[in-house]
Every structure is written in structure tokens, then in C-alpha cells.
């Protein structure tokens, strides 16, 4: 369950619908671990820098002791500021990303699919104080993530945000999808034209889906699916036996898809 994700469905004012995959609780935990490591590292570095100043200036008469004490105070303040503002600053500067989120390709967005506003960034990070309870175990935030549809912690609900996966799909290369070899149907252009007339857009879409998703199917399911599809399309086509003999069901469907999608003339 922790690895499963849902999608945020958006419909724009222009009437276009699209989906954005929501980040899973597991990937968010990993990003959070990285962010904690960064916060700890920043805190350690800051503390060490202040220590160096304290050591070098402590020998000054009268003010030396005050500077040392001031250094301790500054350390406490800076630790608090780093913990509080790390998420705010990075998410604001990197449009919804922290170091951990960048590494795991996650991003905070507005729950309507818009980019983040400053108020949203601040509110979701302030609510972290509640989400990390009890102590720093993140129990409240985790429960909230698990029970909400879009895996939102309480800070996300208050700020109207959610964390999504950044998907960078490869640019489409349609040619690779279709028949790898020679399409034997192409030798019968008049029968191809008749097939195009008989096939509805829905049927064409089903055939194309089957071809594009064939590698996601179990071998048995794949065989049965292409057998059913091939039987159906054979009933719609008039290709002679000499060009269909020896074709597997899957190759038959790939030829059909090739005929429907690639060879059609405008």
C-alpha cells in the first residue's frame, strides 16, 4: 500500500483534463530522511563555525565572555531557524522542492495543479510542528497521509497542497510501436481500405492499447487477449489466406494497427 499512488485529476478552464501522479508515502519518507540529513548537516556546520568564532574571540578582555555567551545564544537561534525555514526557503526557491524531493523527483504543488504560493509554502511548513508529533515520529502526518485520498499530511490540507511525482515521459516515437517487420497487409491496399471503413474508432483504440501495453501483460493473458482480438479483426477483414498464414495472433493485430494508424491517408 505504501508504494501505491493515486492521481490528481485536473480539468482546466479550457476543458482539458489531465492527471498528475501523486507521490507515495514511501517515497515521501525517503525524501524526508534526506532532508533531515541536510538539516542536521547544516546545523553541525553552523555550530562549528560559531565555535571557531567563540574560540578565537574568547580571549578578548571583558567582551570575550559575552561573545562566548552570545555564540551559544546564536547557535540555539540558528538551529531553530534552520529547522523552521529550511523547508520554506527551499520549497519557495525551487518551486515546491527540497533537496530530498529533488533527489526523489517529487514536487509540492497546489491541489488544483497550480504552482505554489508563498503563503501555502509557509503554512504547510508551520503545520509540520503538528505533523511530526508525537516527538519527531511523524505519526500524525503519517496517519493523515494514509487516510487521505491524495496522501496529504495535515500541513498539506491546511495549505491546499499535495506532493506529486515528477514524471518526465520520453518524447513520443510512434514508429517504434508498430509492426517491426514488413506488414503483409500492405500488399492488398483495397482490403486495407475496407478494413479501415469497418473498424470503429473504439475498436482501433483497443487494438492500439493492446499493442502499446503488451509488455505489461502476463504471458497467458497476453496470448488470450491477442487471440480474442485477432478473431474479432479476422471477422472484419477479407485478407486472403496466403498473406495471413503463419501470422501469430499478436503479429496479426500489429499489422491491423499498422494499417489503421499508419497507412491511413488524410
Amino acid at each position: 500500500m505504501l508504494g501505491e499512488t493515486t492521481s490528481l485529476e485536473i480539468r482546466t478552464p479550457e476543458g482539458v483534463g489531465f492527471q498528475i501522479p501523486v507521490a507515495s508515502p514511501f517515497s515521501r519518507c525517503l525524501a524526508l530522511a534526506i532532508d533531515y540529513a541536510v538539516v542536521v548537516a547544516l546545523t553541525l556546520i553552523t555550530t562549528q563555525v560559531i565555535r571557531i568564532f567563540q574560540t578565537s574571540l574568547s580571549a578578548i578582555p571583558i567582551v570575550g565572555e559575552i561573545i562566548v555567551d552570545f555564540g551559544y545564544g546564536a547557535t540555539i537561534l540558528l538551529q531553530f531557524l534552520i529547522f523552521t525555514f529550511y523547508g520554506m526557503i527551499t520549497e519557495w526557491l525551487w518551486s515546491g522542492q527540497t533537496v530530498g524531493k529533488r533527489i526523489f523527483r517529487l514536487r509540492v504543488i497546489d491541489e488544483r495543479g497550480l504552482s505554489l504560493g508563498l503563503k501555502q509554502v509557509v503554512i504547510r511548513n508551520l503545520f509540520r510542528v503538528l505533523d511530526i508529533l508525537p516527538s519527531t515520529f511523524y505519526l500524525i502526518g503519517s496517519i493523515s497521509c494514509l487516510v487521505t485520498r491524495h496522501c496529504q499530511r495535515i500541513g498539506d490540507i491546511a495549505a491546499g497542497t499535495l506532493v506529486v511525482r515528477e514524471v518526465t515521459p520520453s518524447a513520443p516515437s510512434f514508429g517504434e510501436l508498430l509492426a517491426t517487420g514488413e506488414n503483409s497487409f500492405a500488399t492488398q491496399p483495397h482490403l486495407e481500405a475496407r478494413l479501415r471503413q469497418r473498424v470503429s474508432p473504439e475498436e482501433a483504440r483497443i487494438a492500439l492499447d493492446a499493442v502499446t501495453r503488451r509488455n505489461e501483460l502476463d504471458p497467458d493473458c497476453r496470448l488470450r487477449l491477442f487471440q480474442k482480438l485477432a478473431d474479432h479483426f479476422r471477422s472484419l477483414s477479407d485478407f486472403p489466406d496466403e498473406i495471413t498464414v503463419g501470422l501469430s495472433d499478436e503479429q496479426y493485430i500489429r499489422n491491423v494497427v499498422d494499417t489503421l494508424f499508419r497507412r491511413a491517408s488524410v
Binding site: V16, I76, I157, G160, D209
Partner: protein, 349 residues
Amino acid sequence: MPEKEDVIIVSLVILDLDKFIAKERPYWDELRELLRLQSDDPSRRPPLQEAQRFYYLYQRTSADLVKLKTFAGEVETTRFLENLVARAYSFLHADGGESVPFRPWHWLTRTFPSTFRRHWIAFALSIGTFFVGAGFGAAALAINYDLKADFIPPQFSHLNEKPSKRVEREEKQDFDSFQGRHQFSAQLMTHNTKVTILTMVTGFFYGILTIVLLFYNGTLIGVVMFDYITDGQGLFLTAWLLPHGSFELPAIFMGGQAGLVIARTMFGWGTNLKLRQRFARVRGDLLTLISGAALLLIWAGIVESFLSQYHAPQFYPWKIGLGAIQLIGLIVYLAFCGRRKKRNATEEA
């Protein structure tokens, strides 16, 4: 059958995916490049011509996505276009209202006090809950003084000491050249800010935890006040608490006020808006209240560590005077600052 023929013609046009992709691909690539430029530099403001081109490309790609979804089922290209449209949509519909530059003086003299006044009922409830808690603490101690140790948390164990003994010891202390005061001040600031933020965010649980926290803090103060006053140390108590308490307590009340605003947002009384919309309405006010409280706490932290903790009796009048001036100043500021003059009917006309 003309209708069916129309469908077939349309489907043929769209079903030629290869040609469709080849034709539209340059526009998609151009949009992707513009998005990359924006992603590399989020603060970049594109020139008008580029913005117009961007909008055209967004519309064209959106239309391509609709065509592809309607007339073809090619998954890879659909996902590619969905990603492009989602990113472009997010960029185009960014909240323009937040590009108004922040004006600190305006915020301090207008925004903060007027926001505070807008939610005065929540503040009254917050302060009321606190003092009910204080009354409870004082009453409990009046009934059974032995309960004192149960009310005082471990981090304030020094308060278990009899007040008159502490006063006797503290008043004899010499000035310590601010030894350890910076550290103490920083601890107070961070601790009180955390408490105030927690008081605010717990309002998410319909205000129950906010009320519990306010009541609990009130109980603690009630116990301490009762203890010092009944031991004849009212002057010491006033000189000790008023200089920083005049800012610290109102700041915590403001945290409670923000928490109760969140609680009201959760309940959604008097509105049929969704939770998301209700939160969007109060988000700015919450930030204003908590920022104002944080500013008060910074000053309170400095005063508490550098002034409140010095208990030389000759400074009592000065300390109480400063505390009183601060409190009155804060009340006047929050009550009157940034009020717009009401126009009378003649001026309106």
C-alpha cells in the same frame, strides 16, 4: 448515413498518429523548451512576446491532447502531452496576487492590527480560556496547597520553592554582566515561538487541543500567581512577569486566536464552501497573526532574559512602569492602529 461517414472521416484524420505527431511535435518541443527555461530560473519574467507565444503553445498542445484522448488511445504520447499541459497550466495559472511586493511598514501599521481586530472574538475566547484555566489553578491551590507540585512541570521545578525564600535570595544577587543571558534569551524565544505555533496548528483538531493548551498554560500561571500573592510577594511577581509578560502572554493568546480561527474554518459555520476554499480564505490572516505573535515573542525573549530576571528592589518601579507602558501601548496599537476614518454621509455624497 451521412453522420457515420463524418465520424469515419474525422477518425481517419486523427488516427493517422504518425503524421499527427510529426506535424505537432515541433510545437510540443518548443513548449517544452520554454518550460525548461522557466524551470531553470523560476524568478524569470518572460517578455510579452514570449508569454503570448507560450499561451498559444499551451492552447495548441491542450487541443492536441483532447484530440488524442478522443480519437486515439496511444498511451505514451498522451502521457507526454498530459505532462506538458500540466506543467504549462501550473505556470500560466500561478497566483498573480502574491506578486504584490511586501511592504513592512504597511504590514505593521495596517495589516497586522486590522487582521487582529477582524478576529477579535477568537482572541476574546483565547484570553477567556486562559483566564478560566488561571482561575482553576488558583482555586485548586486555594483548596489544597499540596497540589502545587503536581501542577508545576519538571522544567519549571524552581517554582516549587517557597516564593518568599526565592525573593530573599534573588534580591540579594549582584549584577552578573549578562552571563548566560544571550543563551537564555534564545531559549525563551525559540520555546515560546514553538508553543505559540503549536497552539495555532492544533486548531486543526476543531480547536479542542488549542483550548486544552490555553487552559493548561493558564492553570500554570494561576498556580504561580496564587502562590506568590498569598505569600505576600505580589510586587516581586509583578516586577518579574509584567515586563516580558505584557508581550509574551498576548503573543500566546494570538497563537490561540489563530488556532480558533482554524477551528472555525474546520467547522465551516455559515458557509457552504469546501474545506480547501475555507482555508484559502483565512491563510493570509493566519500568517499575519502568527508573524505578529513571533515579533512580540522576540522582544519578550530579550526583555525576559536581560531585564525581568534582575530583581534588585530599586528597579521594581522601572520594571513595572516599562511593563505597564508596553501593555498599554500594545492595547492601543492593536485596538486603533490602521483604522480607516469613517466617512460621513456628506463626504460620501
